[in-house]
């Protein structure tokens, strides 16, 4: 009898349970966060304009209208060795872009530059970087046969031969644009087609494929990045390997930057997080930031450009 009573009590207990008693998924509170400004910029010695997209962050559960990211009417300033040098005018029309023209060769090697952005609704953010030293590119060349990718596709490469400065921590980033001629037909006075004139070039930012050197990392911005810890003070061939372009471009333009360590860490970690996005059970990736009291990156890079056929 007592067994039946026991079962009856259990049954009563279960039937009196709330509706979600067996629901194994519940809402929990998200982690606390600070409302912050977000800035991303890489500036180089060749830039004629300094451009900064300035946005804000939101809590992970907050709804964000498309226009909600932009931060208008902020004050964006660039300091050089502690002296205010530039002030970017406020972004207009709800935009997030703050731009200011730069005098030629504004960012000089060895000088310290600080980016500051302030807005009444946010804590002022800042990031400080020292412009890296110039570096020497000996030559650059296009290589048609640069191996086979994992899926069996033919690869080509743009090789840049550079000389690293000994005893200094250098970080290099390379991107390559494919240049296609902008052809304008020309005609005789009677209107008969005579041919094309190359009046300019279309630039196509090329996607990098796997690197040849295992120390070279895939980086954000369709780039490869490498630290000189593996070749300090030596000549080094920095290769940008990509899928072989059948038909090809008429020429390639290699941009090589000697960037600050912060920027190097950012482009490598941002790319890794982007790549990991779709894989199941991936390990979390922490993206490097150097913006104090905020999020994002302010990087400087000494840029060299080489065109190769």
């Amino acid at each position: 009898m007592y067994k039946l009573l026991f079962l009856f009590i259990i049954a009563c207990g279960l039937t009196s349970c709330s509706e979600d008693f067996f629901d194994q998924t519940i809402d929990i509170d998200p982690p606390a966060y600070d409302k912050q400004l977000v800035a991303h910029a890489l500036a180089s010695n060749l830039d004629s304009v300094f451009t900064l997209p300035l946005t804000r962050n939101f809590g992970i559960l907050e709804q964000t209208p498309d226009s909600g990211w932009a931060v208008n009417n902020a004050l964006v300033q660039i300091y050089e060795d502690g002296q205010l040098k530039l002030v970017a005018p406020p972004a207009l029309n709800g935009g997030q872009w703050y731009s200011v023209p730069l005098p030629p060769g504004f960012f000089q090697s060895g000088k310290s530059y600080e980016l500051r952005a302030s807005h009444p609704d946010f804590t002022t953010i800042s990031a400080r970087q020292i412009m890296p030293s110039p570096f020497q590119i000996d030559s650059a060349a296009y290589r048609e046969n640069a191996g086979i990718s994992g899926d069996g596709t033919k690869l080509s490469a743009v090789d840049v031969y550079l000389k690293d400065q000994a005893g200094v921590k250098n970080f290099y980033v390379i991107t390559v644009d494919g240049l296609s001629p902008e052809l304008t037909p020309y005609f005789d006075q009677l209107g008969n087609f005579l041919g094309y004139d190359t009046t300019g070039f279309y630039f196509n930012s090329i996607y990098p494929e796997t690197a040849e050197d295992p120390n070279v990392r895939l980086a954000a911005g369709r780039a490869f990045a490498v630290s000189d810890q593996f070749f300090d003070g030596q000549a080094y061939k920095l290769s940008f390997r990509t899928y072989y372009q059948y038909g090809g471009y008429s020429q390639y333009r290699a941009h090589v930057w000697s960037v600050t360590e912060d920027y190097f860490l950012y482009v490598v970690s941002a790319q890794r997080k982007y790549d990991a996005g779709d894989l199941p059970l991936t390990e979390p990736v922490t993206v490097h930031h150097n913006v104090e009291q905020g999020l994002g990156i302010f990087g400087l890079g000494w840029e060299e450009v080489r065109d190769v056929q």
């Binding site: 194994q24 998200p30 606390a32 930012s205 996607y207 922490t286």
Partner: protein
């Protein structure tokens, strides 16, 4: 209660064996001190007086150099033998012998052997005790070496007798710290998920041990990783101790005799893992009578049979367990397939089998052969047939997933002298995982030959070990117990191999390829020497050296690891203990720590992947409170280097070179553990509390900054209790609380330049900010389990009904956390809402089981 037992008679079998005493006149007088349940073996004096060490000469020479205290005293003799269960003949591990004359003692080793060398006397009083057994006291004359086997009776068998000299090795007496022995009977009483009693889950309830995720059988000791536990089943390493994706361990409690966990202060005999040693010894089998036990539960049934092969000389035990969800569900599955127009079967099961035989060839030689195999298997076989106007098509799918261990150990105990015990072990251990997926499509048109396309993919990974081990216990005098030995393991790692078959008769395509990484062979070797030295009545030391080496194909690593334990006994019974140990680990585990996936990949140290190292210091106090309550508090600090982890962004499901997917870094942990345990009596159980911190620091993870380890648990509290109302009814309950696991969750979202866009053409994508790895604490974990056993003695057997509930108050404990996005059409527009969800695994789960014993 005094120190003497008054028994008016001598048991008959004792009287029968009195003739073996060399000087019968020294026997104790009846009515004063009497021997109880003593069985005296032959004395074999010649061999014992002149021990022939033979090839062990050099080892002995080394020991004598190292330990000058070993000089022989001609006026001393040795009492040696085995302590066993009187009912079954099972050897008792860790039983204490205490010679009250001279106040010296020793403890039986893993094979129940003891050796006690004392000054010659006509009347030596020895007290033998073991938890859960009746303490025995007797007198023996010691005028020459004596071989003496001592059977102890379980306390449940006690009659109304007055016990004298209740004396067993109390916690404050041991030099070694950070070691916990949990009686297997106590483990069997702990309420368990679906009623499946589980050794590893019981160990999770001990201080200093975290259990990983909800329901998992993982073990994380003092901030260590899941690969840093040396799990030894009869001395053989078990590489994957999980069934059913980690919800059950592979150990069948019915076949287990003894379990111990060492978390630190490792004696020199242990090596090869950084964080813990879990020793599980199987029963030997009843050598006197045939017995059996078994149970029928909700998910599995078990059966264990044991008995003598040759009474008093050899015995066997066989134990098996299998789940039967697949069998019960088969008719339903079949019907489901048929309703879809096909035939087939699918299911999951696991099984394990333990078997052991042992034979005593002589008083000095005994051989054990033990075997374990266990396997999990998931299968899906499906066939669909279609007939269209005489043309037929048949589509078949076959896929499966299987993983399991095999271990075998052949052990030979040999008594080289009453003071020198040798154990030689040959072992084989294998863990493998394989999965297969395949399909066949066969189409037959009228008057044409059939067209067939086949696709199959198989994956295989695992590890095989063949090992040899030689261990010696040398007891020159009661103040020293010296252990020394050596071992070698030949590992074969199978890092993962794919076999693919693609065949199409129509296109004449036939591809049969094998991809993957080649097997890696490596030899691991070790030698050790340790001494347990009772320096004074207050000071006791356990110190030693462990030397190990590892030779993968291209390189050899070696390491010398000092070990040290000390105990100082204060007045009032308080013992101050300290320990220092260094450890090295040559093999690594690539695993997903969230769930116990069988894809665990054991991999070797290579030229690129370095061995893991650790050092640990511990300081603690211990005392037996009252008569039965062992209390200890321990603090520890542990540092680890070259700990392995996946690189950021890497996934278990990538099949690139494993060395490229991992990175190495450092770890550290520190904390304090409080433990009170009562092993005997109507009420038994323990209370444990751990306050701890555990961190990791990898140059390539979390931007090189230190971060909390996933199983960093600030507070961990557990209560385990069993109360026996009477021989028929027993109530058990556990309650656990642990700080939530650390996990990585974005704290905010922001816009970042799309890494896939070039610098000239900015575009943005929304990502989340995770300022630090493992930045978010899951809600705290707590759970209450309860169980009650109703036992009844039937005419031919004893039966027990067990009822209980896991997670009795239905706490929704976190299993994992995820972001959920939902889009709803509301007021003429779509509204997207995001919420942070916690998924739990087990609600309240009642269980029952019927078990029997004969």
């Amino acid at each position: 209660m005094g120190n003497q037992l008054s028994i008016p008679y001598l048991p008959l079998f004792v009287k029968k064996n009195l003739k073996y005493f060399p000087q019968p006149t020294t026997l104790p007088h009846s009515g004063v001190i009497a021997p109880v349940n003593i069985f005296l073996m032959t004395r074999t004096p010649t061999l014992f007086r002149q021990p022939r060490l033979g090839p062990l000469f050099f080892a002995g020479y080394f020991l004598f150099l190292c330990f000058p205290v070993l000089a022989q005293n001609p006026a001393r003799y040795t009492l040696s033998g085995y302590v066993s269960d009187a009912e079954s003949g099972e050897r008792l591990i860790g039983a204490t012998l205490f010679a009250q004359t001279g106040a010296q003692g020793t403890v039986t080793n893993t094979f129940g052997f003891y050796s006690l060398t004392l000054p010659a006397t006509d009347s030596l009083r020895v007290v033998v005790s073991y938890v859960g057994y009746q303490t025995e006291s007797f007198l023996v004359p010691l005028r020459e070496n004596q071989a003496l086997n001592i059977p102890l009776s379980a306390s449940a068998m006690l009659k109304e007798v007055e016990i004298v000299g209740e004396r067993y090795e109390r916690i404050e007496e041991r030099a070694q710290m950070s070691r916990i022995d949990v009686p297997i009977e106590q483990i069997k009483k702990v309420p368990a998920l679906l009623g499946e009693k589980d050794v590893l889950k019981a160990l999770q309830l001990l201080p200093g041990v975290s259990g990983g995720g909800e329901g998992q059988a993982g073990i994380y000791v003092r901030g260590g990783g899941p690969d840093q536990n040396l799990i030894l089943l009869d001395g053989v390493p078990v590489y994957n101790a999980s069934h059913l994706f980690g919800f059950f361990s592979v150990f069948n409690t019915d076949a287990i005799k003894d379990v111990s966990l060492t978390k630190g202060g490792f004696p020199a005999r242990y090596g090869g893992r950084l964080s813990s040693v879990i020793e599980i010894n199987l029963k030997e089998g009843n050598e006197k009578e045939f017995h059996g036990e078994g149970s029928i539960g909700l998910v599995a049934s078990r059966l264990t049979l044991e008995g003598p092969i040759q009474k008093g000389k050899s015995s066997f035990i066989v134990s098996g367990r299998r789940t039967y969800i697949d069998v019960l569900a088969r008719p339903l599955i079949k019907k489901a397939f048929e309703s879809d127009g096909g035939t087939g079967k699918t299911g999951y099961y696991f099984y394990d089998v333990n078997a052991k035989v042992n034979h005593r060839f002589s008083d000095k030689d005994r051989v054990y052969l033990s075997f374990y195999t266990g396997r999990d298997k998931f299968y899906l076989d499906l066939t669909e047939r279609n007939d269209f106007g005489g043309n037929t098509s048949e589509y078949t799918v076959n896929s499966g997933l299987g993983w399991g261990n095999v271990t075998t150990a052949l052990r030979w105990n040999h008594l080289l002298s009453p003071k020198l015990f040798a154990n030689t072990t040959l072992t084989y251990s294998r863990y493998n995982f394989n999965t297969s997926a395949g399909s066949t499509d066969r189409t037959t048109f009228i008057n044409e030959s059939p067209q067939e396309s086949i696709f199959s993919l198989n994956y295989f990974s695992g590890i095989d070990d063949v090992a040899a081990k030689l261990d010696f216990d040398y007891s020159p005098n009661p103040n020293h117990l010296i252990k020394f030995g050596a071992n070698a393991i030949y590992h074969t790692f199978h890092p993962g191999e794919f076999t693919t078959r693609i065949r199409d008769s129509q296109d004449s395509l036939d591809i049969n390829t094998k991809l993957g990484q080649p097997d890696v062979n490596a030899t691991e070797f070790a030698a050790y020497v340790e001494d347990d030295w009772k320096a004074t009545n207050r000071l006791r030391l356990n110190y030693g050296l462990h030397f190990s080496g590892f030779s993968p194909e291209e390189k050899t690593y070696v390491s010398l690891q000092p070990r040290f334990n000390a105990r100082y006994l204060f007045d009032g019974g308080w013992a101050l203990k300290s320990a220092f140990s260094t450890m090295r680990q040559y093999i690594h585990l690539l695993t997903n720590e969230s769930i116990g996936l069988p894809t665990d990949l054991w991999l070797p140290t290579t030229a690129r992947i370095k061995p893991q190292d650790s050092w640990q210091v511990a300081l603690g106090l211990a005392k037996t409170l009252g008569k039965n309550y062992e209390f200890s508090v321990e603090t520890y600090y542990k540092e680890m280097s070259n700990v392995i982890a996946f690189r950021e962004g890497a996934s278990l499901f990538q099949f690139s070179d494993w060395q490229g997917r991992v990175t190495q870094g450092d770890g550290r942990g520190y904390g304090a553990e409080f433990f009170v345990q009562k092993k005997t009596g109507k009420f038994s159980g323990w209370v444990g509390y751990t306050l701890s911190w555990a961190y990791r620091k990898f140059p390539e993870l979390n931007l090189g900054r230190e971060y909390p380890y996933k199983y960093d648990r600030r507070h961990d509290f557990e209560i385990v209790g069993t109360y026996k109302f009477n021989p028929r009814v027993q109530l058990s309950a556990t309650w656990v609380y642990a700080t939530g696991s650390a996990t990585t969750i974005g704290t905010s979202k922001y816009q970042q330049p799309d890494p896939g866009s070039g610098r000239q053409y900015y575009s943005f994508y929304t990502t989340t900010d995770t300022p630090i790895r493992n930045n978010f604490r899951q809600p705290g974990y707590h759970r209450f389990d309860i169980g009650v056993d109703f036992t009844k003695q039937k005419r031919r057997y004893e039966r027990t009904w067990s009822f209980g509930a896991y997670n009795a108050y239905n706490r929704k404990n976190p299993f994992f956390i995820f972001l959920s996005e939902k889009s709803e059409y509301k007021d003429g527009q779509y509204v997207q809402t995001t919420s942070l969800k916690q998924a739990s695994l087990f609600p309240v789960i009642p269980y029952f089981a019927w078990s029997f014993k004969f």
